[in-house]
C-alpha cells in the first residue's frame, strides 16, 4: 500500500491505495464520487475523463499513486453555490445529452478544450472531443452545447 495525498474538487484527501488501483476507482470507490463513469476501460470512450491540474485525462489510464500531489476536478466539482458551470448549463440548454452516461466526460473534456482554445471552430470542437464517445450518437447537440458555452452564435 502507498499513502497518497491529493486534492479533489478543492478538498484535500489522504488515503492508502494499492499501486494497481486506477484513479477512476480511487475516485468512485474510495471517495464515493460516482459521477466519473467507467465506460470502456480501454482508454477509448472518455466517460472517465477528469481534469488533472486543469487538463483532461482519462482516469482509467492513470494510477491513483500517479495522482499524488495533483489537483483533480470531477463533474461533482464544477457547479458552485448551486449554480451550474457554464459548460453544464450549455449542455442543459442545448440538450447536449440523451442517456447522459457519457456526459460527465464530455463536459470535462469541453472545459479543458475551452481552456486551451476559448473560441474553437466547429471542426476544432469535433476534433477536440474525439477522445469521447456518445453511444446515443448525440454529437450534433453536444457540438452546439460547446459552441454555446464558447459564446458562439448557434447555427439554425
Amino acid at each position: 500500500m502507498k499513502r497518497i495525498g491529493l486534492s479533489v474538487n478543492g478538498s484535500p484527501h489522504e488515503l492508502e491505495v494499492e499501486p494497481r488501483e486506477l484513479l477512476v476507482y480511487v475516485l468512485r470507490e474510495r471517495l464515493g464520487m460516482t459521477g466519473t463513469h467507467v465506460g470502456c476501460d480501454t482508454s477509448s470512450c472518455g466517460a472517465c475523463t477528469v481534469l488533472v491540474d486543469g487538463e483532461s485525462v482519462k482516469s482509467c489510464t492513470m494510477l491513483g499513486v500517479q495522482a499524488e500531489g495533483r489537483s483533480i476536478t470531477t463533474i461533482e466539482g464544477l457547479a458552485s453555490n448551486g449554480e451550474l458551470h457554464p459548460v453544464q448549463q450549455a449542455f442543459h440548454e442545448q440538450h447536449g445529452l440523451q442517456c447522459g452516461f457519457c456526459t460527465p466526460g464530455f463536459v470535462l473534456a469541453t472545459v479543458s478544450l475551452l481552456e486551451e482554445n476559448s473560441s474553437p471552430t466547429e471542426d476544432q470542437i469535433r476534433e477536440g472531443l474525439e477522445g469521447n464517445l456518445c453511444r446515443c450518437t448525440g454529437y450534433h447537440n453536444i457540438v452546439r452545447a460547446v459552441q454555446a458555452a464558447a459564446g458562439k452564435e448557434l447555427p439554425a
Binding site: 502507498k2 499501486p19 494497481r20 472518455g46 482519462k58 499513486v65 500517479q66
Partner: protein, 272 residues
C-alpha cells in the same frame, strides 16, 4: 479491468530510476503510462515493479541544439505538438504528435514512452526513423547514443536494455518539406498504414508505420527517387523489405496497396 498486483517506486532522478530498475528482472519504467497501462489492464504485461519517472521534470524540454533540436524524453505529446521551435524547424514532429490518440492521451503520453514502447503501429517512431533522429540513453554503465535506424529491433522490442532510461531525442532542423500521411478509419484509431517523407540533404527519406514488425525505411522508394523516378514509379517500390500484418483493420495485401497510394500522395505533396 484491474492490473495484476505490482510494487511502485517513484524515482527522483534518472540514476535512481536505473538503480530501482536493477532491483527486479520484471521491472518496468512508467512515464505517461499510455502504452503500458492499457497492456497491464489486459494483463498482457505483468511487471512486478513499476518505476515512475513521471516526476523528473528536467526530462521535459525542447531546446535549440544548433543544427538539431533536443527534446527531453518526458515531453508530452501535447507539448511537442504546441512547441514553437519544433513547429518552425521540424514541423513534421509537432504535426504528428498532434495526430496521436486524442487530447486526453496527448496530455499524458510522452515522446520517450512512445519510442521505448516500440509499437510498429505508432506514429512517432516512424517519423523519427525518417528524420534519422538520435536517442540518448543512460544505463548502469553510463550514457550512449543510439541512431533511430539501430533502435527498433522487433515487435515491441528495442535496443534498450532492461535497466536503460531513454533521456533525450534529437531531430534535425529541416530546410525542406516533410509530411506524415496517415490513414485510419475512425477518430483516435491507430494508423492502418502511414508514411513519413522527409526531404533533406538533397535526398528524400521515407519510413512506414504498420508495414512490418518495426517501423521500416522504404529503401526501394528512396533508391528509385535517387535514380530520378517520378512519384508514382518510386511509390510502386514501397513494398520492398516490408512484411505487413493482417488484422481486423486490413489484410497485408490491402496494407501494401494503401502504402503505395499514401507514398505517392506524400511524394506529390513534397514536390507541390
Amino acid at each position: 479491468m484491474i492490473p495484476a498486483a505490482f510494487d511502485y517506486e517513484l524515482a527522483g532522478n534518472i540514476d535512481e530510476a536505473i538503480s530501482l530498475l536493477g532491483q527486479s528482472g520484471e521491472a518496468k519504467l512508467i512515464a505517461g503510462g499510455h502504452s503500458l497501462l492499457p497492456l497491464m489492464r489486459l494483463r498482457f504485461a505483468q511487471p512486478d515493479l513499476l518505476v515512475d519517472i513521471g516526476r523528473i521534470d528536467d526530462l521535459s524540454y525542447v531546446r535549440d541544439a544548433g543544427d538539431s533540436i533536443a527534446v527531453g524524453a518526458m515531453t508530452r505529446h501535447a507539448d511537442v505538438a504546441a512547441d514553437p521551435l519544433l513547429g518552425a524547424d521540424c514541423g513534421i514532429l509537432a504535426e504528428t504528435a498532434a495526430q496521436i490518440g486524442d487530447p486526453q492521451v496527448r496530455h499524458r503520453g510522452t515522446l520517450g514512452g512512445s519510442i521505448a514502447h516500440a509499437d510498429p503501429a505508432s506514429d512517432l517512431p516512424t517519423v523519427l526513423l525518417a528524420l534519422d533522429a538520435e536517442f540518448d540513453v543512460r544505463g548502469p554503465a553510463g550514457d550512449r547514443t543510439i541512431a533511430a535506424g539501430d533502435f527498433f529491433t522487433g515487435f515491441l522490442e528495442s535496443a534498450l536494455e532492461p535497466t536503460d532510461v531513454l533521456t533525450e531525442v534529437r531531430v534535425p532542423k529541416l530546410d525542406g518539406p516533410a509530411t506524415y500521411a496517415k490513414y485510419n478509419r475512425r477518430a483516435q484509431d491507430w494508423a492502418t498504414v502511414a508514411v513519413a517523407a522527409v526531404q533533406r540533404n538533397g535526398g528524400t527519406a521515407l519510413a512506414l508505420t504498420n508495414m512490418a514488425a518495426t517501423p521500416v525505411r522504404a529503401l526501394g522508394v528512396e533508391q528509385a527517387l535517387a535514380d530520378g523516378a517520378d512519384a508514382a514509379t518510386a511509390a510502386a517500390r514501397v513494398g520492398e523489405g516490408t512484411n505487413p500484418p493482417s488484422d481486423t483493420n486490413g489484410s497485408a495485401e490491402y496494407r501494401a496497396h494503401l502504402a503505395t497510394v499514401l507514398t505517392r500522395r506524400a511524394l506529390e505533396q513534397l514536390s507541390a
